[in-house]
Symmetry: C2
Subunit: 300 residues, 2 copies
């Protein structure tokens, strides 16, 4: 089935300026995201949070897309309302349903150029594999949490991913990451275009034509919080040797935190992991100092 | 005259976590900032902004220390009230007047380790010169704006400075910058200790004993805003070649901004300058893309 409508989203978090200004650029120069075989729409998802220079007004918009919440008329926070409006416009029963959603984020962690997949439907894997073939520095972060734990905006369509770039401070527009994110979006749109054209010329199911492929993914296996006291106050910092070391191997016994008393706390696991989202500013309040991943090869 | 009371301040901006957690550490382990010849006090200046994870609640606390504002009972924003309370406690006519204030800040710009002097009284220059002799990587940023344009917290005492470290995102605690800031504070306290002891052993004015000294300072000469449209919306980003190049020479004709249409805007001045606070997140709303400085040698 051809992809007929692609939605590019920025500003789901209002202080992640890369996505916000990419969307503004795409709206100013729509020809750069226009392709012949599908429609491209753009969305500044949380305009009020952007105006306030905040991640969100009342609650994290990127956690508002549980089906039961979207159907609940009593939820009235600004972001719950935004989620319902977005779903009513672009969701499967919406006015302009989309087939693929690409949601543009940034992180204070050293995420480089990351594609986050919350669903392993084949098209998502094919898209990710193509993007890695275009730029081998791209990392694929995969999480198989259920939608209840992963109620992300990109779940409104059958296919979707998040682009997560960093390190960049909240409220800062970094031109290099802006350009790299733009290049990733263009490569994704080009892939959709070639996918549609291949499908059209074969008059058959693309999935049945393609060979097997494989994709190296960093599979989320858990989270680690900061050491805290009874009041929830953090008692340690990310160890300086771990700071900015996202996607690098962390071995049992390696330094993980440094307490304010000057003591090192080591990683206590029993196998090598690859931490990501190390010291993400927005995750202090979520109780996440880093996410742990394992490297896995997905064959599809 | 001996220094009898030193005030260490953090969290003047609630989302600059280096200073916040240094103050918490000093309060947990007071012996590390205790010296024999003077009293050391600590202050978490804007606790409500810290709780909210914001720079400020109503207004920038570090712009609330104009004498006329401190004397104005009608000013009632949270930060105006905080400023008056701080001044009443630690100001010259306060309950516990301080002689020297060191205010700990951080920046999303690549400020490295910077001492900001808003007053060139000799003691400030001697302190700065000592800190540079301990760590030659330290930069001295000097501004001779009047108190009306510089109503900073460290103006409550005769002597004072700000310590500005970066690059670090708002809401992020970076262990390396935390340790470097701590070392700077210890060196400053050690200098005050040696100053007091010298004064005491000479039974005379320290200023009259000392030889001449000189200090390389980056003297603030102006600011540059982002190119904006009529609505105030930014139309360009810091050029990728300028990002993180704080304190590096910027020549006439060098790239300064990159517009969303892809055009480079060059620096139009007629002499070499040294930009600082390049792409500071908190300065977008102040209309400052960077501050321009000139290198000058201060003899004193």
């Amino acid at each position: 089935m051809a992809i007929k409508h692609v939605l590019l989203v920025g500003g789901t978090h209002g202080n992640e300026l890369t996505g916000v200004y990419l969307i503004k650029q795409f709206e100013q120069f729509p020809e750069i995201v226009r392709r012949s075989s599908f429609k491209t729409s753009t969305l500044l998802a949380n305009p009020q949070a952007f105006q306030l220079g905040k991640r969100y007004v009342d609650a994290d918009l990127n956690r508002q897309f549980r089906p039961q919440d979207l159907a609940d008329p009593t939820l009235s926070s600004y972001e719950a309302q935004r989620a319902k409006a977005i779903y009513q416009q672009f969701g499967p029963k919406g006015a302009q349903p989309v087939d693929l959603t690409i949601d543009l984020h940034s992180s204070t962690a050293n995420m480089g150029l990351t594609i986050i997949l919350a669903s392993s439907v084949i098209f998502n894997l094919m898209l990710a594999a193509r993007l890695v073939s275009v730029n081998p520095d791209i990392k694929i972060l995969y999480s198989d949490l259920s939608i209840d734990d992963n109620p992300y905006l990109d779940s409104i369509s059958k296919f979707g991913c998040k682009i997560e770039v960093g390190a960049v401070a909240q409220g800062v527009l970094d031109a290099a990451l802006f350009q790299q994110s733009a290049a990733l979006v263009y490569a994704a749109l080009d892939y959709v275009e070639s996918y549609n054209q291949e499908l059209s010329s074969n008059q058959s199911n693309f999935d049945q034509q393609r060979g097997t492929d494989s994709l190296l993914v960093y599979h989320r296996v858990g989270i680690i919080d900061y050491p805290r006291d009874e009041q929830g106050e953090i008692q340690a910092m990310i160890h300086p040797r771990l700071q900015f070391q996202d996607y690098q191997p962390l071995q049992p016994g390696d330094p993980m935190f440094l307490t304010f008393a000057g003591e090192t706390i080591a990683y206590q696991g029993d196998s090598t992991v690859y931490p990501v989202f190390i010291n993400e500013a927005a995750y202090y309040e979520k109780g996440i100092a880093m996410c742990l991943t394992e490297k896995r090869l997905l064959n599809f």
